[in-house]
Structures are given as C-alpha cells and as structure tokens.
Amino acid sequence: MTEVSIFSLVTGICVGLSAGYLGSLMVLKKMALVGDALSHVALPGLALSILLGFNPFLGAFAFLFGSAVIIWRIERVTKLSIETIVGALFTLALAAGILMIPEPELLEALFGNITNVSLTDTAIALVVSAIAIFFTKTIYSKIVLGMISEELAKSTGLDVDRTNLLYLLLVSLAVAIGIRIVGTLLVGFLVVVPAATAKNVSSNLFRYSILSSILGSISSASGVLLSSFLGLPSGPLIVLSGISIFLIAVLARWLRIQLP
C-alpha cells in the first residue's frame, strides 16, 4: 500500500465518521436533501481555490458556511422553507462553479479524487472531523429536543436558533473535508445514506448515531480501497459501497418481518 493510499484511506475514514454522525441529525431534521444540495454550493469556492492557488478545503468551507448563514438568516426572516432557499442557491452556485473551474479539474471537483491526497489534507481531515464530532456531540440532545418541540426546548432556556446555526457550521466543516474524496456532487451521499441505513435498524439515539458514523466510515473506506485498486474515481465507488450496505440492511429487515 502506497503512502498516498494510506493518506486517502485515513481521510476517507475521518470523513465517513464525521459526515455519518452529523448526517444522523440531518436525516432526523428531514433535511437530507438540503444536506445534499448544500454541498454543491462548495463548487465556486473550489473554483476560487484552484484559480488563486490556496487549499481547496478553505474555499469550499468558506462558501458552504457563507451559504449556511444566508439560509439560516433567510429562513428566520422570511419563513420560507429551507428546501426552497437551498434549491435556488444551489443551482446558482453549481452554474457559477462549473463556469469558473478550469476543465481539467472539473471532474475531480465534481466526483472526488484520492490520487493526490497529501499529509496536510489528511491532517486537516483528522482535526476537522474530531472538532465536528466533538461539538456535534455537545449539541446533539439539544437539536433533537428542538425537533421534538421547539417550545419545550426554549422553555428549558435553550437558544434554538443559535444551536441550529452552530449545527450548520459543523455540517459545512464535515462536507468541506468530504469533498476531497467524494466530490461536490456526491458528498451529500455520506450525509444521508449511512444515517438512513442506521435509522432502519436502531431503537435508540445512541445506537443510531454511532451506527451511522460507523457505516459512513465503512462506506468511504471500502470506496477508497476499491478506487485505488480499480483506478476509478473514489466518489462513485464510495456511493456504490454505501448503497450496497443500505440495500442489505433493508433486505435483512424485510426478511426479519417476513420470516416467522
């Protein structure tokens, strides 16, 4: 195994863990598609980093968090649904990003690439995932309480709006590191599918969130490994491994219901 494949494997595991963990909240908040569409907003950020020569993570994160704040603000002020706002922003960002990114790098930005993951990328992924998971853990119960009843949450003195903003910031972090290996078009997968699989088989929040992170990391690790063996882009392979796990879980559940 080469150094690069070890870096990309470690990056993949970190990305899968954090995206799976944060995604478990995204799916409960019925924001799965928002998470998916939000990731596309990173494209113009990536374009700028390529054109100006700075770390793509920074460009992606700046755009993701910027859009997250805009969405958060517009939702509070206009009461439009998040879906509508994200839908409008995402198509704009995708269009702008595709026009801005030089063609040779476009495929990599859209579908991910593990062949040039550096030590710096791996270190960023490690640190950022740890931060994202740590802070998400501290607000996890608050977010769930806010979903069950906003009034109940507020009556315990919780600032629901601020907690949601912090959560969007953390999602932006997790998605920004995910883009490296899965690409902007497919990174939404890591937020949605592991959580959907875990929800199918969990009877409490603890199991659900842990299982979602583990499934996220298994999907991305197996995708990265397949990618380095087959020489194909990592993003689609990660998605295919994750979807296979999802289908197995659905089938297992179905069989358990069918069999006496």
Binding site: L28, K30, S141, K142, V144, L145, M147, I148, S149, E151, L152, K154, S155, T156, G157, L158, K199, S202, S203, N204, L205, F206, R207, Y208
Partner: protein
C-alpha cells in the same frame, strides 16, 4: 381589569397585569390581568383562537409581550406542550428524560423516579422508543419530563388531547395527587367542563380579553358559557360528548 383571588397578603406565585400580545399586527391577548395563589389549580377555558396557548407562551417568556408577568422569585416552571412531534426519531424514553437531567443537573430526579411518579413502570418502559408509545403513555412521559426538576409550577396545554377516557381520568387523578403532595401550582388549558369543575379551584375564561376570572364552579352558569362561547352553547364533559 385587575382581579385578585384573595386579599393582598396572600402568597401569590404569579401576578399578571395588563398583558397584551400583538402578533403580526393582530392583538391576540388584550390587557389581561390576574393573580394566582401558590398551590392552587387554574383552568384556562375559551373558544379556539381565544389566545390560551399564546398566554402560556407569554408566561414562559417565549414571545414578546407588553405589560407585566411576575413569577415569585426563584420559581421553577415545568411545561407540557399541546403537541410534540416524535415523528420517526429513534429515541428511547430514558434518553428523552436524560435530556432534562443534562440541561438541569441540580436536584433533578432520575428517569426511574419520574416515571414512577407518573405511574409508569420504568423497568418496562425505559428502553422503549417514544414513537411506539400509546397516546396516554406519551402524555405521562411528557409529564414525567415536566416534573423531573421538581418544579413549583406546571403548565399543561390540553394535557389529555388524543388520550382515551380511562387514561384521561388517570392523568387528572395523578395531577391532583402531584399538586397535593408537592404543593405544585397547576395551570391547565381544557375544553372539558368536568375537568374544570372537579380538578381546578379557579377558572380564567378567555376570549382575547378576560371574560371571567374566579372560582371554577361558575363553569356551570349558562349565561357565562354563552358569554365565552356564544349563544346556544352547552358545555359537556368528554363522556357526555361520547
């Protein structure tokens, strides 16, 4: 309209004066004033859209208002909302109750203790998911949540909506017991004459402004009912409505 239940030497836990709530340029509550004695139960009645839930939200400081709401110093409030949306969140009873413990550590009852206070078997229920509980069980779990940090006041927004009659009876009996044993002041919103008459000492009839505030026995007065709900109204118990 500043009506008080007893003279000014009484120990009031809540004093509301000239409370007005304006939402999206509509007056929802208009100049509400009343006082509530510690350890009593107040039923809030009124037609749909009368502002009952908004009054609760103002009392909990969840929305902007004009006027004065004064809780006695250091009072702890427990709240059971009208609706919660569990949806398909995979959360166990124990996990839900632990949220309260983590948000309010000092003097908080454990999940087991609050479940037994509301007459639920913690051994059987702790690990069950909230989404599979019956309406009555869920309501009791919410009450358990509300009493976990030993509040002085409980606010119930239609505590038995969506609960079968037997469970409703049991929930009110339990509320009554909690109130007596722990000197808890209870404010509840109800549409049921039987609940107002049998489980509350006082009644606040609301339709944007205060129509009546005083002893709950007045609920049986047809002229007052007409004033609250309009002419031809006969307020029945849930049992009578079938």
């Amino acid at each position: 309209m500043n009506q008080s239940i007893k003279d000014d030497t009484t120990d009031y836990i809540l004093e509301v004066s000239n409370l007005t709530v304006n939402l999206q340029n509509q007056i929802i509550l208009d100049n509400i004033s009343f006082k509530l004695k510690r350890g009593t139960t107040l039923a809030i009645v009124g037609p749909n859209g009368a502002g009952k839930t908004v009054l609760f939200r103002a009392l909990l400081n969840l929305l902007p208002y004009r006027g004065k709401i004064e809780w006695s110093k250091g009072v702890k409030i427990g709240y059971v909302p009208q609706r919660v949306s569990i949806g398909d969140i995979p959360i166990s009873v124990q996990e839900f109750l632990s949220f309260k413990e983590s948000s309010n550590m000092a003097g908080c009852l454990g999940a087991q203790d609050c479940l037994s206070l509301v007459g639920l078997d913690s051994g059987q229920l702790s690990n069950k998911e909230l989404r599979v509980l019956s309406g009555g069980q869920l309501q009791r779990v919410l009450i358990a949540w509300a009493i976990a940090d030993r509040p002085d006041v409980l606010l119930f927004d239609e505590p038995t909506a969506g609960v079968d009659l037997d469970s409703e009876e049991a929930i009110y009996e339990m509320l009554n017991r909690l109130e007596k044993e722990n000197q808890i002041t209870v404010l509840l919103i109800s549409h049921d004459i039987h609940v107002v008459r049998d489980y509350s000492e006082y009644m606040l009839a609301l339709n944007r402004s205060v129509i009546y505030f005083g002893g709950s026995e007045k609920i049986a007065d047809p002229s007052l009912l007409e004033k609250i709900y309009g002419s031809g109204t006969v307020m029945k118990t849930r049992k009578e409505r079938g």
